[in-house]
C-alpha cells in the first residue's frame, strides 16, 4: 500500500469513529425498545393495577385480601412444594445422564443428546397427553401391572401429586441436564486422572474432585428448574387433582372467570417476588455468572457461602471416604490380580441408570402414535383395531387447518422478527466491552426468567387498550418477546466460538466492514443462525400461555386448540394431532441438525 492511501484511510478512520458509536447503539436499541414497550411497560402496568382499588386510588386492598385468605398462602406453599420436589427429582435423575454425556466420547454423546433433546423439542401438550394415556386408570402402566399380577385394583397415578411430579419432572429434566452438561463439559478430564495417580480411588476422585467442580452446574440447573416450575399450570391442570392447584392457575381464574385484574396483578407480584428472592439467594450463594457456564473459583464468598462451602466439604469428604472403604472391601472380596485386565464394571450401573432415565424421557412421545390409530371413540390402552378416522377428521376440519396455518405463520414471523432484533444485540454483547454488560445481558434474557403467565396477562391488558387482542400481529409480537432471549443466547454461543481473526484477516485483505460481514462472518455463521431460527420457531410453535390470553378466544393456534379440546374431552383425535405434531417437529429438528452438520463439515 502506498503512503498517501494509508494517510487517507487514517483520516476516514478518524471521521467514522463517531459513526461507529452510533452503530453500536443502533445494533442494540431495537432490542431495548421492543422489550421496553412490549415487556417491561405492560408488566409494570399490570403490577401497578395491584396497587389501586376499583376507584383508581392507591390502595393495598388486594394485598390485604391476598394475605388474609388462607387459601392463597396455601396455594403458594403448594406451588413451592411442587417446584422443590420437581427440582430434586430432575437433579437426581438428570445428574447421571449429564455425567455420562460429559465423560463419554463425542460420538456417543452426539447420539445420546438427541434423545435428551427429543422431549425438549416435542410439543409440551403432546407429552402431557401421552402421560394421560400411560398413567390413567386404564392406562398402559396400570394394564401392565395388572397383567403381571402385581396389583388388584388400578393404582391412582394421575389427577394427584404423583401425576404432577411425573409430568413436571419429565418436562423440566432436559433443561436441567443441558444446564449441568454445559458446566460438566468444561471440567478438565485430566483432573480426575491426576487425582487417581495421586492415590485417589474412583469414588474419592469423583466426590472430591469431579463433584465439587460440577456443583455450579447443579446449582444453575436446579435454580432454572425451580423458577420455571413456579410458573407451570398446564401439567397441574391436566395431570393434577384439585389439591395440586398452583399459583398460576389462580391468576388465570382471576382473569378469565372473575375479571379481577387488580387481584390477579397482586398474585403475579407475589409470584415475581418469589422468583426474585430465589435469584438473590442463588446470586449470594453461587453467583449469577455461573448461569452462562463460567467458573466460580477465586470469587469472594459471603458468610452464607463460606458456611455452605464448609458443610459441603465435610459431606463430600465423608462420601469420598465411604466410597473408598467400599472399594477396599470389594477388592478384598474379589482380590483382583495385577496381571489380569479387569472388565470395567464401574460404568455399567451408570449406563443402566442413564438408559432408564432416557427411556422415561422418550417413551411418552412415542406412545401417542399407536393410540392415534385406534378404532374406538375414547383414549384407551391398548388401542383396538386400526383406523385412520382421526387423521381424516383432522385433515377435513377447517378449524384444525386454520389453527395449524396460523401457528405456522405466527411462528415463522416471530422467529424472523426475533432474529432481526436478537442477532444484532448478540453481536453487540459479544464484540463490545462496556460497563454494565452483565446487566444488559440479564435484561435481554429476562423474558425467559419471568413466568410466562405474567407476560401473557400483562400483554392482554396492553393489547386491550391498543386493540391488538385476537390479532395475528398481537400474537407475533408476544411470541417475539420469548424468541429474543433464545436468539440472543444461541447466537452469542456461536459467536464466542467464532475466530475473530478471520474478520481481521478479511480487513487486512482489503474488505470493508460490510463486505466482511456479508462475505465472511455471516456465511460462516449461517448454520448456527438457521439453528437459532429453528429454535425460536419451535418456541413460538409450542407456546400456549401467551396464546391463551392474547387470542381473546377469537382466533386460535394449534396448542390453544389442543388445550381447548383437552379441557372438554381427551379423545384419540388429540393423539392423532399429537402424532402429526411429533412428525412435524422431528422433521424440523432433523432439518436443523442436517444444516448444522453440513455447516461444521466444511
Amino acid at each position: 500500500m502506498s503512503l498517501p492511501s494509508k494517510a487517507a484511510s487514517g483520516i476516514t478512520g478518524a471521521s467514522t469513529f463517531k459513526n461507529r458509536d452510533w452503530g453500536k447503539i443502533l445494533s442494540i436499541s431495537p432490542a431495548f425498545l421492543f422489550l421496553g414497550f412490549f415487556f417491561v411497560y405492560p408488566v409494570i402496568l399490570l403490577l401497578g393495577l395491584s396497587l389501586v382499588d376499583d376507584s383508581g386510588a392507591l390502595s393495598l386492598e388486594h394485598y390485604v385480601h391476598l394475605f388474609e385468605k388462607a387459601v392463597y398462602m396455601k396455594v403458594l406453599l403448594i406451588t413451592l412444594k411442587i417446584a422443590a420436589w420437581t427440582t430434586l427429582f430432575a437433579l437426581l435423575a438428570g445428574y447421571p445422564i449429564a455425567y455420562l454425556l460429559s465423560t463419554t466420547n463425542s460420538n456417543t454423546r452426539n447420539s445420546l443428546i438427541i434423545w435428551v433433546l427429543m422431549p425438549f423439542w416435542t410439543s409440551f401438550l403432546v407429552r402431557t397427553f401421552a402421560w394421560m394415556v400411560l398413567l390413567g386408570r386404564h392406562g398402559a402402566l396400570n394394564d401392565l401391572l395388572f397383567a403381571l399380577d402385581l396389583i388388584d385394583v388400578p393404582v391412582r397415578l394421575i389427577y394427584n401429586f404423583t401425576g404432577v411430579m411425573i409430568g413436571m419432572t419429565h418436562a423440566l429434566m432436559p433443561l436441567c441436564i443441558l444446564t449441568m452438561l454445559s458446566v460438566m463439559e468444561n471440567i478438565d478430564r485430566n483432573l480426575v486422572s491426576a487425582a487417581s495417580t495421586l492415590g485417589a480411588r474412583g469414588g474419592q476422585s469423583f466426590w472430591r474432585v469431579y463433584f465439587p467442580l460440577s456443583m455450579p452446574g447443579v446449582a444453575a440447573g436446579g435454580m432454572l428448574v425451580f423458577i420455571t416450575a413456579l410458573g407451570f399450570f398446564i401439567t397441574p391442570a391436566l395431570l393434577g387433582g384439585a389439591r395440586d392447584t398452583m399459583i398460576v392457575q389462580v391468576i388465570i381464574f382471576q382473569i378469565q372467570e372473575v375479571l379481577n385484574w387488580g387481584f390477579a396483578g397482586a398474585i403475579a407480584m407475589l409470584l415475581l417476588v418469589s422468583v426474585l428472592i430465589i435469584f438473590t439467594i442463588y446470586d449470594q450463594l453461587i453467583g449469577l455468572s455461573t448461569l452462562s457456564g463460567e467458573s466460580t473459583q477465586g470469587r469472594k464468598k459471603g458468610l452464607i457461602g463460606r458456611f455452605g462451602a464448609r458443610v459441603g466439604s465435610i459431606i463430600i469428604n465423608g462420601l469420598g471416604n465411604a466410597c473408598e472403604r467400599f472399594g477396599v472391601l470389594i477388592d478384598l472380596l474379589l482380590r483382583p490380580s495385577a496381571g489380569v485386565a479387569r472388565k470395567s464394571m464401574g460404568r455399567l450401573p451408570l449406563w443402566i441408570v442413564s438408559m432408564t432415565v432416557l427411556a422415561f424421557l422418550c417413551i411418552p412421545a412415542f406412545f401417542v402414535i399407536p393410540v392415534s390409530f385406534t378404532e374406538e371413540g375414547f383414549l384407551g390402552w391398548p388401542p383396538r383395531g386400526f383406523s385412520l378416522q382421526w387423521y381424516e377428521q383432522i385433515l377435513q376440519s377447517e378449524a384444525w387447518a386454520a389453527a395449524a396455518s396460523r401457528s405456522f405463520l405466527v411462528a415463522s414471523a416471530s422467529a424472523l422478527l426475533g432474529m432481526s432484533i436478537g442477532v444484532p444485540a448478540a453481536f453487540f454483547l459479544v464484540r463490545r466491552q462496556f460497563f454494565g454488560k452483565a446487566a444488559v445481558f440479564a435484561f435481554l434474557v429476562s423474558p425467559i426468567i419471568m413466568p410466562n403467565i405474567i407476560i401473557a396477562v400483562a400483554l392482554f391488558y396492553l393489547y386491550a387498550k391498543l386493540g391488538l387482542v385476537g390479532t395475528n400481529l398481537g400474537l407475533i409480537l408476544g411470541h417475539t418477546i420469548l424468541a429474543i432471549p433464545y436468539v440472543v443466547i444461541t447466537v452469542m454461543a456461536i459467536l464466542k466460538n467464532y475466530d475473530h481473526r478471520l474478520d481481521q484477516a478479511a480487513w487486512t485483505l482489503g474488505a470493508n466492514k460490510w463486505q466482511t460481514l456479508t462475505r465472511i462472518t455471516l456465511p460462516l455463521l449461517s448454520a448456527g443462525l438457521i439453528a437459532s431460527f429453528m429454535f425460536a420457531f419451535i418456541i413460538s410453535f409450542d407456546e400456549l400461555t401467551i396464546s391463551l390470553f392474547v387470542t381473546g378466544g377469537e382466533v386460535t393456534t394449534l396448542p390453544k386448540k389442543m388445550w381447548d379440546d383437552a379441557l372438554m374431552r381427551v379423545s384419540p383425535l388429540l393423539a392423532a394431532v399429537a402424532a402429526l405434531l411429533l412428525a412435524f417437529m422431528t422433521l424440523v429438528i432433523l432439518l436443523s441438525e442436517y444444516i448444522r452438520r453440513r455447516g461444521t463439515g466444511k
Binding site: 485430566n190 486422572s193 491426576a194 487417581s196 495421586l198 473459583q297 477465586g298 495385577a338
Partner: protein, 358 residues
C-alpha cells in the same frame, strides 16, 4: 534379572483400528532420568499412560519396583504424574492441592502441614499456599504441580510435556530446576517431550520413538554422534544425510560412493555388504570449510548461502550435482572472507561419518 525401578515389556496398545503402540519395552534404573522423545503420534504419550495406569495395554507387562502392575489401577501404583496442563484442582488452594495425595494416604493433619510447607519451600513458593491455582502464573503453577508430585515421594515420576505451555526463557530455567530436583532428591523420572533440545539437556538416556515403535535408546551423546537409524539421525539435531553405494569394507570402516561421485569413508556399526544402498550422515559442525589440512573425506562445491544465527553461522554449499551440504561454525566478527559464490572445499573425518541402512 537385574532389578529395575520400572520394567515395561512389549507393551502394545490399539485404539479401535489404530495401533498407537506396536511393541515397546523400556527399563528404568533407580534415580535415572529417561526421556521418551518423538513427534506427535509416535506413541510416547500412550506408553506413558499405560505405565501410569490411565490406559490398559492390550498385551505386555509392566513391573514397578519388582512388582507386577500391568492392570493395577493408577492409585495403587505409587507413581507421580505431572500433566501437560498441570491438572491442578481449580477448586482447591495450593495447600490443599499439595495435601491431596497425603490425605489420600491418610496422613495426620500435623504431618501433612509440615510436609506441604517443606515441599513448598523447596520450590520457593511458600507464600502462595492459600491462593487458588488460577491466581498463579504459568511457571508458578508448574512448580506447584511438581511439588504436588514430590510431596508423597512416589517411586517414579512421570512427566507428560510439563513445560510445553511455557515460553522459552521460563522453560530453560524450569528445565534446570527439574534437573536439580531430580539430582538432589534422587528420584526416578520418565519424561515425555517432542522437543529434542529439552531431551538432550535433561536426560540420562533418551528413547526415540517413531510410529508407535522405539527407534533407539541411548545417552544423548550416543544418539547424537552414533545414531543407529535414519530417523534418529534426522530427528535429533541437524544433519547432512546422503545416499550412496558401499564400494569396499575394511572391518568397521566402510567406503561409500555418494553424490557427485565422491568417495566417502565412514564408520558402520551395522553389518553391510559391498554394493548395498546405504545412507551416510555427518553433522554440520564436523564439516570444515577450506581447511588447510583436509581430513579423510573431501568434496568441493559453491557457497550458496550464509546465515548468521547468533552464536553459530550456517553455511550452505552446492556440490557439482546440485546436492546441498551444510556446515556450521562459531560466528566470528572478522569472518567475511567467505562470500556467496565462492568455491569451497568441504572436509570431515571418517570417524564423524555414520553409515546407516536406509
Amino acid at each position: 534379572m537385574q532389578k529395575y525401578k520400572l520394567n515395561a515389556i512389549n507393551i502394545r496398545k490399539t485404539y479401535d483400528d489404530i495401533t498407537a503402540l506396536k511393541s515397546a519395552s523400556i527399563q528404568l534404573k533407580e534415580g535415572e532420568f529417561l526421556t521418551l522423545l518423538g513427534p506427535s503420534g509416535s506413541g510416547k504419550t500412550t506408553l506413558l499412560m499405560a505405565i501410569a495406569g490411565l490406559n490398559s495395554p492390550d498385551s505386555g507387562e509392566i513391573w514397578i519396583d519388582g512388582e507386577l502392575a500391568t492392570h493395577l489401577p493408577p492409585f495403587k501404583r505409587d507413581l507421580g504424574m505431572v500433566f501437560q496442563n498441570y491438572a491442578l484442582f481449580p477448586h482447591m488452594t495450593v495447600f490443599d492441592n499439595i495435601a491431596f495425595p497425603l490425605r489420600m494416604r491418610k496422613n495426620k493433619a500435623s504431618v501433612i502441614k509440615e510436609e506441604v510447607m517443606k515441599v513448598l519451600d523447596i520450590v520457593e513458593l511458600g507464600h502462595v499456599a492459600n491462593r487458588y491455582p488460577k491466581e498463579l502464573s504459568g511457571g508458578q503453577q508448574q512448580r506447584i504441580a511438581l511439588a504436588r508430585c514430590f510431596v508423597y515421594k512416589p517411586s517414579i515420576i512421570l512427566m507428560d510435556e510439563p513445560l510445553g505451555a511455557l515460553d522459552k526463557k521460563l522453560r530453560d530455567s524450569l528445565q534446570r530446576e527439574i534437573k536439580k530436583l531430580h539430582e538432589n532428591l534422587g528420584i526416578t523420572v520418565l519424561y515425555v517431550t517432542h522437543d529434542q533440545e529439552e531431551a538432550m539437556v535433561m536426560s540420562d538416556r533418551i528413547c526415540v520413538m517413531n510410529n508407535g515403535e522405539i527407534d533407539q535408546i541411548g545417552t544423548p551423546a550416543e544418539l547424537y554422534f552414533q545414531p543407529s537409524t535414519v530417523f534418529s539421525a534426522d530427528f535429533l539435531g541437524e544433519s547432512n544425510l546422503f545416499s550412496g553405494t558401499v564400494s569396499s569394507i575394511n572391518e568397521q570402516e566402510v567406503e561409500v560412493v555418494g553424490p557427485s561421485g565422491m568417495v566417502i569413508k565412514g564408520m558402520s556399526k551395522v553389518p553391510v555388504n559391498t554394493g548395498d544402498e546405504v545412507k551416510f550422515m555427518v553433522r554440520p559442525e564436523s564439516v570444515d570449510l577450506n581447511a588447510l589440512e583436509t581430513e579423510e573425506n573431501v568434496t568441493h562445491g559453491t557457497l550458496t548461502e550464509v546465515i548468521v544465527s547468533g552464536q553459530i553461522t550456517k553455511l550452505f554449499a552446492e556440490l557439482a550435482d546440485g546436492t546441498e551440504m551444510m556446515s556450521t561454525q562459531l560466528t566470528r566478527t572478522s569472518e567475511h572472507t567467505l562470500r556467496v559464490g565462492a568455491k569451497v572445499s568441504l572436509s570431515w573425518r571418517a570417524s564423524n561419518t555414520v553409515i546407516l541402512i536406509s
